[in-house]
């Protein structure tokens, strides 16, 4: 499966490291260190606008090709597609792998 399989429950991990079918709760957004052409703070705002915000429960539904990128994530009642690189700005707590 994926490279970062061993998460400790209760410890924040990056959404970009989750594999298919994983369920998690978003605990924070942190865009530092993400390579993006956007202005500072813009990626965070866009993530919130797509419903990726603290407290939301997400589930990884689909993975792209190759290198399982991008990923499709269910957020409450809609589905968002995003690349793993940007998903790394979303810090989650894994509920179920």
């Amino acid at each position: 499966m994926h490279n970062h399989a061993r998460h400790k429950a209760g410890h924040g991990v990056k959404l970009g490291s989750l594999g298919k079918k994983a369920r998690a709760e978003i605990v924070g957004l942190d865009e530092t260190g993400i390579a993006t052409p956007l202005q500072a703070g813009e990626l965070e705002r866009r993530l919130i606008e797509m419903g990726l915000v603290e407290g939301a429960v997400i589930e990884v539904l689909h993975e792209g090709f190759p290198r399982r990128d991008p990923m499709a994530v269910r957020v409450s009642d809609h589905t968002v597609a995003l690349r793993r690189a940007e998903a790394n700005a979303v810090i989650v707590q894994v509920i179920e792998e």
Partner: protein, 633 residues
């Protein structure tokens, strides 16, 4: 009693997330009474319609581009923001806003409603697709929602007869209230300012509170969509299906369109026969048969193919598959530095590069956008279809290959499309590695639930296309053909001429003048003549060839089809060379014009023209030389 000019009809703006069924609602409200134009100064499509409300008021509706927030990120979204804020030049601020929300997917839609409420204008929330929400086991308490939001909320089913009645009634009430209270001043101070991350989180909490009060959702919504996506988004199966779909699309362009094309052809021959039989020989008869019927007719005959292509694109768009295609291809296109979202402009470019280049506006990053725009003309547009079809029909034998289920002409056509796509990818790769390097824009998009495309919406879309195409054929192309006919007919042949009259005409002179430049790639002077007006619109080139060959025909032999004439007068290498030329040729002023405006630069269209012409010449030269060497001149 003096007659007062009636006050202008009140205007309603439709605002909503992408994929909320806004256009279906717009179609349901206005029917075919729509007007598609552009906003002043920008190339965003402006859709306006008119309906008569139940109380008898004429109301104007504007369908604004879909957006998640008023914090505009792309030129499309800027239009929505500027219109609702009253900042748009030449555009009155709407009297009321109808916020359209997908009832099955309320969260993101309600955030936009909260933002719109800051404007202090009359707002109505239309809960669209209520039938689907109910089918999924959702219950939405519209009264509770209305109380929590402080605005009227009406459920609608845009795709059902009478499904928008409640909304129309509410619009009447809202207009009445607004009229008695007086419309808000146009440039009133509004309470909206660009939200920061903190504000957005507040909106989000408020939405969660409201949803908890008024909505009960099933535990697993959109189960069907999820199941379909397990297959369609599968890394292997999904990509295979996407490729198959594209292949079927191009195959269908040929097979489905054959019968209607034969009918049109038969009709044209009939009309030509009637004109020949009933008119005295003279310039007018020549103008009608050689200029109008041969010229305009050879363009009109491609209407079925263009409609089949648009039918596929429309269905893929309406069903929600387009976003999946972008998902499937994002990483692969990332290999050459393109954004997954570039897929939609590139696919539209198969219809026409102009809307394709405009669709690239959804890519916010400039370098990504330029790369997409530069390769859009390499995606074979429908205007090149007439040229391809004509030459393939004339030179490629109708033979079945691959076990009999694929025709050779279809295969050649596919190869031409593939050549365009492949060279586009190579060009993008080179551009992104050299002058346009940099990180890609994030891919952050919703995968909407699958929906069955509504025949009514598809039909309306196709009707618009057909109308536009025929209008164009009847106006611009008609006028061009008449002029071409004139240039190809005058001055007439001198006494004792040995060649057909067209040889001595103005068009003939232009063709002979250009011939030396084009001779190395195997083009004769007739093709040279066709390429010049082909700059205005590629499909015109076919019409010109039709006129030229009709005029150079000796006359007494019964004229067969243009394809037959070409097969008799061109060598195979010349035909192949022209095909190769058209894969690359930037033979379209409209495309160069839209590139200039979209990128607000003269440099990029110039670069595009030079590099595409160079590629076209090189490809045609190579094809011609290789073909001559292999097949003999």
């Amino acid at each position: 009693m003096t007659h007062h000019k009636p006050p202008p009809p009140p205007r309603i703006a439709l605002v909503g997330n992408p994929n909320c069924g806004k256009t279906a609602l717009f179609n349901a409200m206005t029917g075919a009474r729509q007007k598609v134009a552009n906003y002043a100064g920008v190339t965003v499509e402006r859709k306006e319609g008119l309906f008569v409300s139940p109380a008898g008021t004429r109301v104007k509706v504007i369908d604004l581009p879909g957006t998640y927030s008023l914090r505009a990120r792309s030129p499309d979204e800027e239009v929505t923001r500027d219109v609702v804020l009253g900042r748009m030049e030449d555009e009155e601020v709407p009297e009321a806003i109808v916020c359209v929300a997908d009832a099955t997917n309320l969260r993101l839609n309600l955030r936009l409603v909260l933002e719109l409420k800051k404007l202090d204008r009359p707002i109505i929330l239309a809960l669209n697709m209520m039938d689907e929400a109910e089918k999924q086991g959702m219950t939405i308490d519209a009264a509770e929602l209305s109380a929590a939001l402080g605005i009227p909320v009406v459920p609608t089913v845009a795709i059902q007869t009478g499904g928008v009645q409640a909304l129309l009634d509410q619009i009447d009430r809202t207009i009445q209230v607004a009229e008695t209270e007086g419309f808000a001043p146009v440039h009133a101070q509004c309470g909206w300012s660009e939200p920061n991350a903190h504000d957005l989180r507040d909106y989000h909490r408020e939405v969660e509170r409201i949803i908890a009060l008024s909505v009960t959702s099933p535990t697993r919504p959109h189960l069907a969509t999820h199941r379909i996506d397990t297959v369609l988004l599968h890394p292997a199966a999904g990509l295979a299906i996407l490729l198959t779909l594209l292949f079927l699309m191009f195959q269908a362009v040929f097979t489905w369109a054959r019968l209607p094309m034969e009918l049109i052809d038969g009709g044209l021959t009939l009309v030509k026969g009637l004109v020949d039989a009933n008119m005295a020989d003279g310039p007018l008869r020549s103008l009608l048969t050689d200029g109008v019927i041969a010229g305009v007719g050879s363009v009109v005959i491609f209407l079925p193919q263009i409609l089949v292509l648009f039918l596929f694109i429309q269905i893929l768009e309406d069903s929600g598959y387009m976003a999946r295609a972008a998902f499937l291809l994002d990483r692969l296109m990332g290999g050459v530095g393109l954004h997954g979202r570039a897929f939609i402009p590139l696919l539209s470019s198969f219809a026409c590069a102009v809307p394709g280049i405009m669709a690239a506006r959804t890519i916010e990053n400039r370098a990504d956008r330029i790369a997409t725009i530069m390769i859009a003309p390499l995606m074979t547009c429908s205007a090149r279809l007439p040229v391809y079809t004509l030459i393939i029909a004339a030179f490629v034998p109708q033979r079945d290959v691959l076990g009999g289920w694929v025709g050779l002409p279809g295969l050649v056509m596919f190869a031409l499309y593939a050549a365009g796509i492949l060279s586009g990818l190579i060009v993008a790769f080179v551009l992104k590695r050299t002058i346009l390097h940099g990180a890609r824009e994030p891919l952050l998009m919703q995968l909407p639930a699958y929906r069955l495309p509504r025949p009514r919406n598809v039909a309306l879309g196709l009707f618009e296309r057909a109308k536009a195409f025929l209008t164009r054929a009847g106006t611009t192309i008609f006028a061009l053909m008449v002029v071409i006919w004139f240039l190809a007919s005058y001055p007439g042949a001198p006494e004792g001429a040995t060649e057909p009259a067209i040889h001595y005409s103005i068009a003939g002179m232009i063709g002979h003048f250009l011939e030396p430049v084009l001779a190395p790639i195997g083009f004769n002077w007739q093709i040279a003549v066709a390429l010049v007006p082909g700059m205005a619109a590629r499909e015109v080139a076919v019409g010109v060839l039709g006129t030229i060959y009709a005029l150079s025909d000796s006359g007494d032999s019964l004229r067969s089809s243009l394809g037959g004439l070409l097969a008799a007068s061109w060598s195979l290498p010349t035909a192949l060379s022209l095909l190769a030329w058209y894969v690359f040729a930037p033979q379209c002023i409209a495309t160069l014009g839209v590139v200039r405006r979209e990128l607000n630069s003269l440099v990029w269209p110039a670069v595009m023209f030079v590099f595409l012409t160079g590629l076209a010449y090189l490809a045609a030269f190579t094809t011609y030389r290789v073909a001559v060497a292999v097949l003999g001149g």
